[in-house]
């Protein structure tokens, strides 16, 4: 299945416009070391305003240096997430401020316990290749929170992971964690397990900490995703074309920054611009514009031969209901068909309004469905089965044929949660809704799944690093 919205000419026009934005208007980078490095490479830097205007030659040169594929490895090295090689990956949320235990309950602030629950849960979900922390523990001090979250996430899954980095000081301890886990620095570099996200603040500016912490992760040549959430009409022009060009410019500027820190750092192109709702006055996670943005951004990222991450499979709904199914399903189907490398983040209720495992269960089913849409259909001679058609002849049935027995399991997708029952059977079984089935499945997984434990000596070693982070990073205030 292939989805496209841009012609080659339109891709080129967006590319050229982005380069013009970077050269004529430039970006704000509140980081003097990076500004100096831009200046050394001949960029037009205003140190006072922290503004850099980058020529198209420099953009293209730095872009050419960026690593264009990479693989994350879990604790279990056979659990991989490959980027830039035509594979599809799915991650759960890196962390939300709020948490919903059950859909009918009110949301509450997240805790470290929620990280444990969420990661164990995603460890059980076959389609989730990268479990995220899903919760941003409210009770932990910000200074070392992400170190504790990293450890808790590693402890509860054997897959690669995602969580939010905070700043350079805490990133140092996170680097120590992966080195301890892998055995030495060389192995830690060869076998990355997670990576930071550099999130430009649209329009055309960057956060200090997001850049500064890359000086630590660059030690291991750790991949970096660059994903600005430009919002059409709010922090980007009110047009799809304008938003795409600005979003692309911001990503390219972010890639330049990574390559000035260390040439060759692999990058992931985060084309995650969104529409903005002029009525509710907040971002729209999953309107029709999201499908257009995501397919177009995938085309742009692939034009640069980069791995691509897009925000699809999401919903604005507060319940895993019909709206959620429509929004998650359609955007994910189109985003995957466009050929991006990773989709998500999964498990979010509404527009970053909380984490919810009920949503994650529903999305897991949608992923399975969409993966099936993206299958390679066989058109071999055997598949056409003309001999079988002849054998059955007019008015016959294919059910009892060997050809059918041999093929149907490969050609047919089986749901685990969607209802396809006869009416009376469905009714007699309790006439359940999708929401109810999601909840039931959630409770089953919570009750049964136990992830493979981390070895005791490694656990102790990592615990020490977290404690050290706590000691060193606790502010005196």
């Amino acid at each position: 299945m292939i989805a496209k919205v841009l012609t080659e000419q339109q891709i080129n026009k967006i590319h050229q416009t982005s380069l013009e934005i970077l050269e004529r208007i430039g970006v704000i980078i509140p980081h003097d070391e990076i500004l100096s490095r831009f200046a050394e490479r001949g960029a037009n830097v205003d140190m006072k305003d922290k503004r850099v205007r980058i020529s198209d030659d420099l953009v293209m040169e730095l872009l050419s240096k960026a690593g264009k594929n990479f693989t994350f490895y879990g604790r279990n090295l056979s659990k991989k997430a490959e980027f830039g090689v035509g594979k599809r990956n799915y991650n759960t949320s890196g962390g939300q401020a709020l948490w919903i235990d059950n859909i009918d309950n009110k949301r509450r602030y997240s805790s470290l316990n929620d990280v444990t629950t969420a990661v164990k849960f995603a460890d059980a979900l076959e389609k989730i290749t990268i479990p995220g922390a899903m919760a941003d523990p409210h009770e932990l001090p910000v200074e070392w929170r992400c170190v504790a979250v990293a450890f808790e996430t590693i402890k509860n899954t054997t897959k690669p992971i995602i969580f939010w980095f905070h700043d350079r000081a805490s990133a140092k301890f996170i680097v120590d964690i992966i080195i301890a886990l892998r055995g030495d620095e060389k192995k830690a570099q060869k076998l990355p397990m997670f990576h930071p996200l550099l999130e430009p603040v649209s329009p055309l500016s960057f956060p200090f900490n997001g850049i500064d912490l890359l000086f630590e992760t660059a030690r291991l040549n750790m991949p970096v995703s660059i994903g600005p959430m430009a919002q059409m009409g709010l922090s980007a022009p009110a047009t799809i074309a304008g938003t795409l060009a600005q979003e692309n410019a911001e990503i390219l500027a972010g890639i330049c920054i990574t390559q000035l820190i260390r040439e060759g750092i692999p990058v992931c192109y985060g084309g995650i611009c969104h529409a903005f709702d002029m009525k509710t006055t907040q971002l729209i996670f999953s309107g029709p514009e999201q499908a257009i943005f995501s397919v177009a951004m995938t085309q742009m990222g692939k034009y640069y031969n980069l791995p691509v991450y897009i925000n699809v499979g999401l919903t604005d709904s507060k319940r895993p209901d019909a709206q959620a199914g429509l929004e998650c399903g359609l955007t994910l189907a189109l985003g995957t068909a466009a050929g991006a490398d990773i989709f998500g983040h999964m498990g979010i209720c509404g527009v970053d309004q909380a984490s919810s495992l009920d949503f994650l269960v529903m999305q897991s089913e949608i992923i399975s469905y969409v993966e099936s849409i993206n299958r390679e259909v066989t058109f071999e001679e055997e598949a056409f089965a003309i001999d079988i058609i002849e054998k059955v002849g007019p008015k016959g049935s294919f059910l009892d044929k060997q050809h059918t027995v041999e093929h149907f399991r490969n050609e047919l997708w089986f749901p685990t949660l969607l209802d396809r029952e006869y009416y009376d059977t469905w009714n007699n079984k309790g006439a359940s809704s999708m929401e109810k089935r999601c909840r039931k499945r959630k409770e089953e997984i919570l009750a049964t799944h136990k992830p493979e434990l981390l070895a005791d000596d490694v656990t102790k070693e990592l615990e020490e690093i977290v404690k050290k982070a706590q000691r060193n990073l606790t502010s005196s205030a």
Partner: protein, 215 residues
Amino acid sequence: MSQENLYGEISDAIVNLNEDKARELANKAIDENFNILNVIEEGFGAGIRRVGELWDAGEFFLPELMRGAKIMQDCLDLLIPHLQGGIERKTLGKVVIATIEGDIHSIGKTIVATMLRAYGFEVYDLGADVPAEKIIDEAIEKNVDIIGVSALLTTTMLGQKKVIEILKKKGISNKFKVILGGAPVTSKWVEECGADGYAENAVEAVELAKSLLHI
């Protein structure tokens, strides 16, 4: 043109989001030495209230609301230096507003500032990445009624609490109403911080500010 006719035309220019016309009428009011205070209140004020009504009715969307407020603000900047006889424009109250230290997300905060201004508050917008101490110093210096603190990140929202803690430490927390906003902020957080109010969006923020000052 009579002053009353002018009010109507100004109000229409704001509702029609016609910047050129609104400026032309503002300059005309200055040239013809009309009562500027009345021009502001009964012309521009009436216009922005109509814009607000269109928003409430679901006919106007955020860009129209913001555009109306922006045109009004630009015209007010023209008019205020011409207020006759040292008359000061009576505002609904004074507000100091900022995005907290460590956070450079300023758009939401700026929308709130614009809306508050449009509805008649005097607003001191300190920008983004502003330390709690500085917000409080400004609040004291400008003798404001309300302190508005925005945070978009779970890591920076703690700064909102710090503002209230410092106010308490200084023994001046009863002098100001503190309102909080931003994506991770909920009414529960406001309660936890001991702040006075929370609004989900800019329009609600205006209502909140009014109700806190019993307007």
